[in-house]
């Protein structure tokens, strides 16, 4: 089957998650008070960022490490590092 949802897509990938997040929302107040569009919840290709009503949840375990959130956050509110060596996404093919 060809995938239809992001959940199905993410399920195809091997992740070796670290116990600690490599993505940090610097100031959660900015997300709740100053950012009506919450663009990261839209353009992140791994749907890592989810707005849970009052707080931005960061599902770093499914991160593709592309860098879009660091560049695209209009408030430069995301601290973006690489996961610890050997951790994070593991592409097997392309």
């Amino acid at each position: 089957m060809s995938t239809k949802t992001i959940e199905e897509k993410q399920y195809l990938i091997r992740f070796k998650a670290n116990t600690k997040s490599h993505l940090t929302v610097l100031d959660h107040d900015i997300c709740s008070t100053n950012c009506p569009d919450k663009l990261c919840t839209l353009f992140c290709p791994g749907e890592v960022y989810k707005w849970e009503g009052a707080r931005m949840q960061v599902g770093y375990e499914g991160c593709h490490e592309c860098g879009s959130c660091r560049i695209g956050c209009p408030h430069e509110n995301i601290k973006w590092e690489y996961p610890l060596g050997g951790h994070g996404i593991v592409f097997r093919l392309a």
């Binding site: 070796k16 353009f43 560049i71």
Partner: protein, 431 residues
């Protein structure tokens, strides 16, 4: 690890490995550091690898490298919602030695390529992140890693750390990338039996085809989609500048599904099974976005130096060529025992004299023009489709009358002067 190396290469993609390989082959002591589990595990590419620049590093690589198919046909689609205008080139000369380009799966290719470096004496360390360059008296003297006691020293550090290049940013070689300087691309690998691929793409054994798709593939936003044939799978992907993605409030994976379900595309994929989903940024800032590429004890290559020609979907070839040029500069620097910026600037000079920078310069205004003028993708592609439909539909209207109607169709939307201006600006940007 307190020993000192001639060169530390950060990253094991095509740029880093081309550089590490060339340095080691010339007798330098090389350490290559990769943050992934293996080379290629963090790397993503639509899939076209060019023969020329690869061959200049490994002659006759096609006899042993893990390649998918030599590409014998390149198609281009200007796609609307229920139609497409297509053109392309198919030539059997591309299917025999020395070939033109190949589809590859990068996780396979990058591992093989890095192994060639190791065979020449490169010390490759995986699963290690370089967290910063160690700078002393304005000179890069080594790197700090995320391993305990992870400081390592070298005469030259080569930054091949990819599009985000946090290390080049740390050194102040470039500012943070802007959303209009990167393309966010999502792709899937879809398994399909070999016979199905050959039938659907009109191919024979060991022949490949690429399709680049403009227009409705990105819902008219600035970007492209692609379909590439592997041996027994298809890579399909779509990307737009991050700024366009943000402006249109699109989700990259929904855009990908829109493409997969498009009536012009779906029959090619029918019955296929998704096997991997990948997302990545492509540096598309072009000529003006290229950062400082040489400093005291340091050079920058590949995506880290933003060396991608988006118009011609070339990147891995530029990565390899820049890696080789950087290696040659480092080798000369060692002969002179001078690793200063002045000495390493021979890399910069070689790069700017090469076809890489000449090509990037040729298109230096293209990205900005298409970003600031959405009509090219949003309006002209549908207009072209309507024009072809009108012209080839036999309905009793004389051809001359049809031509008149077509031209009227173009000019009524944008005005005669507007069309002339758009044509002139597009020509100027790509000439």
């Amino acid at each position: 690890m307190s020993e000192k190396f001639d060169v530390i290469v950060v990253g094991a993609g095509p740029a880093g490995t081309a550089c590490a390989y060339t340095c080691a082959k010339n007798g330098l002591k090389v350490l290559q550091i990769e943050r992934g589990e293996y080379p290629g595990s963090k790397n993503v590419m639509g899939g076209v690898l060019y023969r020329k620049q690869t061959e200049e590093i490994i002659p006759e690589f096609w006899k042993e490298a893990p390649l998918e198919r030599p590409i014998i046909e390149q198609r281009f689609w200007m796609m609307d919602k229920e139609s497409t205008v297509s053109f392309g080139y198919k030539g059997l000369e591309w299917g025999v030695e020395p070939y033109n380009n190949f589809t590859v799966l990068r996780a396979h290719f990058d591992q093989w390529f890095a192994k060639k470096g190791v065979e020449e004496g490169v010390l490759l360390i995986n699963e290690t992140v370089v967290t910063e360059c160690i700078v002393e008296d304005g000179k890069v003297i080594g790197v700090r890693t995320d391993r305990p006691d992870g400081e390592i020293f070298a005469d030259v550090v080569v930054l091949a750390d990819g599009v985000n290049s946090l290390l080049a940013k740390q050194l102040g070689f470039h500012n943070e990338l802007k959303p209009d300087q990167v393309a966010l691309t999502a792709m899937e690998v879809i398994n399909l039996p070999k016979d199905k691929i050959n039938d659907r793409f009109n191919l024979q054994e060991n022949q490949g085809c690429t399709i680049e798709i403009f227009g409705d593939s990105t819902k008219g936003n600035l970007g492209t989609a692609f379909i590439y044939t592997n041996k027994e799978s298809i890579n399909i992907g779509v990307g737009t500048t991050l700024s366009s993605m943000i402006k249109a409030k699109m989700k990259p994976y929904e855009l990908l599904d829109y493409l997969k379900n498009h009536p012009m595309v779906a029959p090619l994929l029918a019955g296929g099974e998704s096997t991997e989903y990948l997302a990545h940024l492509i540096p598309e800032g072009g000529f003006r976005a290229v950062p400082k590429v040489a400093g005291n004890g340091v050079v920058v290559i590949g995506d880290a130096a933003q060396l991608v020609n988006a118009i011609h979907r070339e990147g891995s070839n530029m990565a390899m060529a820049s890696g080789k040029m950087a290696a040659e500069a480092v080798i000369h620097a060692k002969e002179r025992n001078d690793y200063s910026e002045t000495s390493l600037n021979s890399y910069r000079e070689a790069l700017y004299a090469s076809s890489i920078m000449k090509d990037l310069e040729k298109y230096k205004d293209a990205a900005h023009l298409f970003e600031s003028s959405p009509q090219y993708f949003k309006e002209y592609v549908p207009m072209m489709n309507q024009a072809m439909s009108k012209f080839f539909t036999v309905d009793g209207t004389p051809k001359k009358e049809k031509q008149k109607q077509i031209i009227k169709g173009f000019t009524s939307e944008r005005g005669t002067f507007g069309v002339m201006k758009d044509l002139y600006r597009a020509w100027k940007a790509v000439k």
